[in-house]
Symmetry: C2
Subunit: 191 residues, 2 copies
DNA sequence: ACCTTCACTTGATATAGATCAAGTGAATTT
DNA sequence: AAATTCACTTGATCTATATCAAGTGAAGGT
């Protein structure tokens, strides 16, 4: 569990964290195992944890008034899952986070998270870098969803996240891209 | 110029900044006046400044392969304009930032920005809060652009940014929402 | 081993919104 | 003041993609 997080942290920050500093991180994060189909977060509740995926895959989705699911994001090894707004502000979330495979997670509460950020400069740096990445990824997604055709969206997905196509069901990928499963299937043939 | 930034900072952080602390901010930011149609940032160049709008309005847009403009965001009094990725990483931007009205700005380079963040805890806090807001706004925009009809997009714009409708030309607003100017015009009649 | 569900495909039809095109009035330029 | 450009509207078509519907094979449950 922890060695993977450690290596991840080193890689993101281009540094080598000391044993002492990493100790703080180990103390803050607790391991959690989730079975496929279990939920880390339910709509209407308050998000309590930031989760780092050591093994497995998850998805975050919302349900609209008509009962349709909208996949907001996927997570695999080395990704973080949470509703940060709900976590930070302690307000009810509109999202569900579900394990799509059996998962090994490392989880921390908001308080623990703030604690590590204070105690570990490298963890703090990592958080910043992730914020930046998250923000540019969001910008890209906005532009893709507005300007790309269905085919371009799929190509973009394959390019940016190869592996997703084999790992996740097409109806979920279609939802993530904002196209219908049928269009997804048809467009897929032409590639 | 500066008093507006000061008041803005107090309001965002729910605090009252001291004269000494605000001094650091004044030192970091330089006033800049821009005439309508002038550019703060050109595609292909490296973004040098983070700009705070004291007066006026701007837009940030990209141009695709077909030569079509895509408005990414607008800015008015109390908003920040920049391409943060380009600013932070010193990499060429794909965006243009143009003054849509005569503007009064306060600008700082990346180094100056980092300097103030170190020297002023409140400024640092503000930056964090803005990051959070930016991130939830981006999430909302993704969901809106994927799931909303043209009419819902317009209603959402009116609700979230009243004033934009009077202040910006419809073709730019349409581009921002990812719909055609004609659809914008038609949908507008029905509200 | 059988039944049921589910993921995906394929075809037919419907539709929101894009594109094309023409016209109007206001604003800007000469 | 005339000419030109520009922002917007309105109408007519076109098109990408959604929706509806039926079928297939594989996977999972009993």
């Amino acid at each position: 569990m922890y060695p993977f997080l450690r290596q991840y942290l080193n890689s993101i920050t281009s540094s080598v964290i000391s044993d002492e500093e990493f100790q703080h991180i180990e103390e803050a994060f607790a391991p959690k195992i989730m079975k496929k189909r279990q939920f880390l977060l339910h709509e209407g509740t308050i998000c309590r944890y930031m989760a780092f995926i050591v093994k497995g895959a998850m998805r975050q989705y919302a349900i609209d008034e008509k009962g349709n699911e909208h996949v907001v994001r996927f997570g695999v090894e080395g990704w973080w899952m949470s509703d940060r707004e709900s976590l930070r502000m302690s307000k009810p979330t509109k999202y569900n986070i579900e394990a799509l495979e059996d998962c090994d997670l490392l989880i921390a509460t908001n308080e623990q998270l703030n604690g590590v950020k204070e105690k570990s400069p490298l963890f703090f740096k990592m958080a910043h870098i992730l914020d930046e990445r998250h923000s540019t990824a969001a910008q890209h997604r906005i532009e893709a969803s507005m300007n790309y055709t269905a085919e371009e969206k799929l190509k973009d997905l394959i390019e940016n996240y190869p592996g997703f196509l084999q790992r996740f069901p097409q109806n979920m990928l279609a939802s993530y891209l904002g196209i219908s499963p049928e269009t997804f299937s048809r467009v897929r043939k032409n590639i």
